[in-house]
Symmetry: C2
Subunit: 318 residues, 2 copies
Amino acid sequence: MNTILVTLPVNGTQKAVLENAGENCRFLYETDSSKTEELIPEADIIIGNVPTGDIHASPKLKLLQLQSAGTDGYTAPGVLSENTILTNATGAYDKTVAEHGLALTLMLQKNFYLYRDLQNQHIWKDMGMAASIADSTVVIVGYGSIGSLYAKMVKALGATVIGVKRRKSEKPEILDELVTMDELDNILPRADVVFSVLPNTLATRHLYTAERFAMMKPTAVFINCGRGNAVSAEVLYDVLQKKIIRAAACDVFEQEPLPSDSPLWSLENLVITPHTAGGFHLPDTKDKIIAIAAQNIRAVLGKDEYRNIIDFSTGYKK
Amino acid sequence: MNTILVTLPVNGTQKAVLENAGENCRFLYETDSSKTEELIPEADIIIGNVPTGDIHASPKLKLLQLQSAGTDGYTAPGVLSENTILTNATGAYDKTVAEHGLALTLMLQKNFYLYRDLQNQHIWKDMGMAASIADSTVVIVGYGSIGSLYAKMVKALGATVIGVKRRKSEKPEILDELVTMDELDNILPRADVVFSVLPNTLATRHLYTAERFAMMKPTAVFINCGRGNAVSAEVLYDVLQKKIIRAAACDVFEQEPLPSDSPLWSLENLVITPHTAGGFHLPDTKDKIIAIAAQNIRAVLGKDEYRNIIDFSTGYKK
């Protein structure tokens, strides 16, 4: 009998979905990480982002189903046994992150960050020209599951949309162009909007250098809804303070929470959201994670195919 | 020979478009309203929103082409001679207002007004659940040219879209439902988003009463990109202060500029933009007005059909 440890808080309906998938399995529900550590060695399957340091490459563990899309830390040597399959929640966060990203894009294009600040000073003042998403060339860096939904949205609003991804593949119909990361520097100068949804990998660390921001149009806006390590706090501050580009919006930072003494807080042309693009800010995100987890429980039991298996060598979905 | 007075500031390309339409006409370009008053009696055609009090029902005036979509004041008795055709710029502002409206909608749904205020206090704090446009029922009150573009946008993002308009007509494919204004009170309780783009008419004055806001869901958001007289400052303040609905965003107010001592400025759950949805905040708006004006110049010369003729009895396009 397989033991399934669920550390992600779930409601009755979600429990039923999991237990229906894991017929004849023993379910342990424990959300307190001080208690999960003891239960991990018993588990054949874990559903939830248990602390990496608590797993100790448990030899019994067949499946670790993450609740996140990011796999940060779990692919490091020694964390998981080579018998363990790691799956993530790619797909579950598409709607919440893509909508958040679109909302940030429009907030920057319409100067709403300036108008909110003026409102707080009781000042009625026209801040001049806005930008139009319909007239924009939007470059999506890290074109995956989230990026493709965001692409669909901005395309429907009239934008020209260019995807940039790691591996070469056929251009989806929704995109005007699809290029690989080695062409990034040729594409950035054309962008009115750069939407970054890169994961945290060695290859993406500090990808947005001062030189790359300088390649962008001075009217461009940059939105980061991926991981904070794609741009250093120093470069971000410098670029925005000098108005190398017009404005940026970041949901993620190298250091989170952003320290209260960070100079980034005070940049007028930076919009900050506290890593709230993803998470459980929409009601159906967790249902989607549970659906992925249920499929992967069935896969362990030989009744279905695995979904979202992570390749340890890249940290990406296989 | 027809004399055409252009009071709207135009560039060389726009002049060429007008002069090409008004072949053999005499063009007067004057943007200073202290000087236009003298020129008005000479004009057969005026392009631009000259002060209503300066027209004195000029008997020579064949066409007044407004640069605005609103016709506020120009249809009042005594302003224009009965020989004058009044046309407006309906259509020219669709993109700028619909995009502004969408950006405000998403800003409210994603709590960005709260995050901007927290940013200014250097506070990293999760403000909880957001709303999804894809899961929303959006009610567009004043379903016309702007409303139909906004409808197309939110429909593409997944919303259920209901249009409310003055006169009964066939439901466009983009809408899930189209109803007339007398059904408004049946529709408001279903709305997650109320997007108002009503013009300023006697019938729309103070349409949004406290009772109507109370019919909306407590989680609903209200966006006004039409005219400010649709809701009184007092009702708006009271409804938001008591959180009868979740939040609102207004680009227009009964009194503009909004007085600096208005209590509306300080409402956390009200987002204020200073009547910047329309105007010339996108580069192509004026080109679109000039295209409408050129067609109507040709119409005066018997070479084309009129576009956007205003019915004096309703203040709307015929």
